[in-house]
């Protein structure tokens, strides 16, 4: 977000705060809210997609990336977290049926 001086005056905002540009929420990086970071253990993950379904911020990415586990199992897709938007709520970790997601504290005052 821009600094206060460059924000529009009341008459420059559409009435009632209507947002006329689709998808503008992409500009709002909710990742800055996060105090706990979900880390997906790719070896444990069974690719069930539940985290992708439950994430309230659509911050779980389903990628066409191949992955071979340490035991040799081959997956065509990989789930990753989009840390720009993941706000660290922990819903994914809670819902994951095989406990493949761990919530790890972000370093205090630290960057990603």
């Amino acid at each position: 977000m821009s600094s206060e001086g460059s924000l529009p005056a009341y008459y420059e905002i559409p009435p009632g705060g209507a947002i006329l540009e689709p998808g503008s929420s992409l500009k709002y990086k909710t990742g800055s809210w996060r105090v706990l970071r979900p880390i997906i253990n790719q070896d444990k993950c069974v690719r069930c997609r539940l985290c992708w379904v439950y994430c309230p911020d659509a911050a779980i990415l389903e990628l066409d990336e191949e992955y071979v586990t340490s035991k040799g199992r081959r997956y065509k897709i990989t789930y990753k977290v989009n840390y720009d938007y993941c706000k660290g709520c922990g819903v994914c970790a809670r819902e994951c049926p095989v406990n493949a997601i761990e919530m790890v504290p972000e370093p205090i005052g630290g960057e990603e």
Binding site: E4, Y10, P15, G16, G17, A18, I19, P22
Partner: protein
């Protein structure tokens, strides 16, 4: 001259029919070709939407009637309909208006141009189905344009004016048309209705400019953080200011087309009056019948009828006040624990201070829960207003309460 004669003919041709204020409002909704009505029954409003349902069933109005499980949902559905570009209407009273309270702010915040009629009724507890103004007074700071009307005809006309004002792109605010429950809602009066073409020519449908449309996606009702919220609420302050001029213009144009106009306030027997009574809705109508008797005994009191309440027609009220020595404000609601316990009296007190007017103010609370007020009571109030020119009455008078 020819034009005047023609106008008179035009007005004379229309025959009034007997309608209650509730029926008159339903007729206005039909003649405005409203698209969506969402409502939940509550007395004394119910017959408004019953009549509308009849019009729809008889094919006289093509509209979607949404049956909902509460007034909270009724107004929610009405707001949503308006935001899709439909002309939307709802009606309520009393507890219903209270249950809508959250959505009242959302309607104005989202700038939904809807019109709602309110058959004013007291609030529980104790339960009272009778009339006072507590419901609307509790809604006065919700960003709605508020009219108080005094007759069934004025209710019909004001609902029509309401859409012209609400849907104006310089306004985009919801409008409440309030009238006294039972005393007006269920009382027959002669009412002239207009044909739909003339009504729509006066108030053409101008749908919400940022309406929900899959072809042109918009987001309405998004979160506004501290950098944005204040400006979006301030827009309502400015829209209210513009609404004042638009309401005046809507009334004048209505007068030109249909031969009836009301003004934003009405001053009755104000010429040579040394004192004023401020009243709204049916009390104003009763006072018109009573004041000539007061003048006969030398009590020169005029009536200032508040028709438009929000935005407040400050200039007109100040002009009326500047010509008298005292003003008696009748409140039909109680502001518990306030300096004056009449909410309107507090506003008049502020106005007198703001404009440095040398007017003695009398605050009177009356007719709570429809406590009976007959002609002689109004005559007493007129004498009280008259007395107040020389005697200060610093405390709110709770007229008619058993002490």
């Amino acid at each position: 001259m020819a034009v005047a004669a023609e106008e008179r003919l035009h007005v004379e041709r229309k025959k009034p029919r007997p309608l209650s204020t509730n029926s008159a409002i339903a007729h206005a909704v039909k003649d405005l070709d409203v698209d969506v009505v969402a409502a939940y029954p509550i007395t004394p409003q119910t017959t408004v939407v019953e009549k509308i349902a009849e019009f729809i069933a008889d094919g006289e109005l093509e509209a979607e009637m949404v049956h909902v499980e509460s007034e909270h949902s009724a107004l929610s559905a009405t707001v949503a309909a308006a935001l899709t570009g439909a002309r939307a209407f709802t009606a309520t009273a009393s507890q219903g208006l209270e249950l809508m309270h959250e959505i009242l702010h959302i309607a104005s915040g989202l700038r939904a141009p809807i019109v709602m009629s309110v058959a004013m009724r007291a609030l529980s507890a104790p339960i009272s189905i009778w009339n006072d103004h507590s419901d609307v007074m509790n809604a006065r700071d919700t960003g709605w344009i508020i009219f108080f009307v005094s007759s069934a005809q004025e209710a019909y006309d004001t609902v029509i004016q309401g859409y012209r004002i609400a849907e104006d792109s310089d306004v985009l605010l919801p409008v409440m048309v309030a009238y006294d429950g039972y005393v007006m809602s269920h009382t027959m009066e002669p009412v002239v209705t207009e044909d739909r073409d003339s009504v729509l020519a006066y108030a053409p449908k101008r749908s919400f400019p940022y309406k929900l449309d899959p072809e042109k996606p918009v987001t309405l009702g998004a979160l506004a953080d501290p950098d944005w919220y204040y400006e979006i609420k301030y827009q309502i302050v400015e829209a209210m200011r513009r609404a004042l001029g638009k309401a005046r213009e809507a009334d004048e144009e209505f007068g030109r087309r249909f031969g009836r106009k009301y003004g934003l306030v009405e001053c009755y027997m104000c010429e040579d009056a040394k004192s004023l009574i401020v009243a709204a809705s049916s009390y104003a109508a009763t006072l018109k019948a009573v004041l000539p008797r007061a003048w006969e005994e030398g009590v020169k009191v005029g009536l200032l009828r508040l028709r438009l309440y929000r935005p407040f027609p400050e200039d007109l009220v100040v002009d009326a006040l500047s010509r008298v020595d005292s003003v008696l404000v009748i409140d039909r609601a109680i502001s518990y624990g306030a300096p004056y316990q009449g909410p309107l009296a507090n506003e008049f007190s502020g106005l007198i201070l703001k404009h440095g007017l040398g007017v003695n103010l009398v605050s009177v609370v009356a007719g709570i829960g429809q406590r009976r007020m007959v002609d002689d009571d109004f005559l007493k109030l007129a004498r009280l207003a008259w007395e107040a020119r020389t005697v200060r009455k610093p405390e709110t008078i709770f007229y008619g309460v058993r002490k």
